[in-house]
Point group: C2
Chain length 254, copies 2
Amino acid sequence: MAKQNIYDNDVFFEGYKGIRDREVNANKLFEIPALFSLLPDLKGKRILDLGCGFGEHCRRFIEEGAVRVTGIDISEKMLKIAREENSDPAIEYINMPMEDLGKLAENGEKYDLVVSSLALHYVEDFAGVVRNVSNLLREGGEFVFSQEHPLNTCHVGGNRWTRDENGKKMFLNLAYYGVEGEKESTWFVDNVKKYHRTFSTVINTLSEGGFSVERIIEPMPTAELLEKYPDYADLFHKPDFMLVKATKKHKGSY
Amino acid sequence: MAKQNIYDNDVFFEGYKGIRDREVNANKLFEIPALFSLLPDLKGKRILDLGCGFGEHCRRFIEEGAVRVTGIDISEKMLKIAREENSDPAIEYINMPMEDLGKLAENGEKYDLVVSSLALHYVEDFAGVVRNVSNLLREGGEFVFSQEHPLNTCHVGGNRWTRDENGKKMFLNLAYYGVEGEKESTWFVDNVKKYHRTFSTVINTLSEGGFSVERIIEPMPTAELLEKYPDYADLFHKPDFMLVKATKKHKGSY
């Protein structure tokens, strides 16, 4: 199974870092606040971060009281920055693709919380990740993740948007929502592979993996935010992100 | 709160009955098989059917071993046919809008299973229905329902579809997925009111109402079915239906 490491591509890396460094972006305005709103009180928690990138979240977990954080990422280039900018004695950064998570489980590691920010749509075998996350969580432990919204990962018909004569987005050209699997897209470099999964596949994979889905967020802009950044009105047509909070069921519970 | 009774409108009723009588339609090919695939073994079960219409499902529940079935519907006109065509000593048909479900709960009724086929998108207060369904179910009891898919209940930009020069559907013109609430549409008569809810609202309302979401189906055509009815390929762009199976959590369970 392909393990995709676009983040070690130089062109991609610089482009991506450019967005992340911008003062305002969709991650900072929508995805990160929604992700943290789903987290439990972090005091005393052992946390695993899947696709930790530059380690900003890992450091924030420690600041909010976590006692141990493991961050894994496929990109050594990103972990180098994480170790430089977001190191802490209680954080361990491991260069590892998410598909190899089973190795951590074999070591008998257990976590109270597994978090993943915008990484799972790069993974082909979501069910495999869910199985490993379940093995790595204590019973009652939580899995909180964000991913690109299914309306964002699916095919589009021709151009993504149909615009009016003034260039304003009128509607999303939605095609093949029901056809799952690999999509190639261009994001700084060609052939960034994302995997489209329908809503039902995401929910059912979690349910079959022994999780109870507690809450889902599809972030939308507030009136206040729209006044400042009117372009984000297009999120009403197509949310960019989907966030999920799921709890590992106790054995014998249904 | 409005309780909508379009089914007692003569024009609507005749138009609707015409579709239901057709040998092949999307309900028979996709919705009904998906709904029944989510049901548990019905032997010995007490079942409540919300929006039972002509009572076809109520009779089938009895045939499959249910011991008691209550069918409620807002339309007396539909229940008249239910009583004529699908009566059974173990079936009780009650003329009652879904919004008044609380009255059944006050009577101390308890069910093992609550089913609803394509009725909930007509109900404004979904959270209220979920609360009443929870009160009417025993712990561990199941709530299985179908509704129009959220990609189907939401606004569209202008026409619903963009077609190629041969009239083939290229993509859905998707707009305002994130804006919930009342939508007016024309289905035999003007001003049929449907209520759009996002995916996350459906899931979160069930979760907050004490349910664990077990499984979701967004029915798609099989290759075999497409050979016979190629027009249903448009379901890959936009599923017509969403089906949900949820279990009432035990008290004290999370």
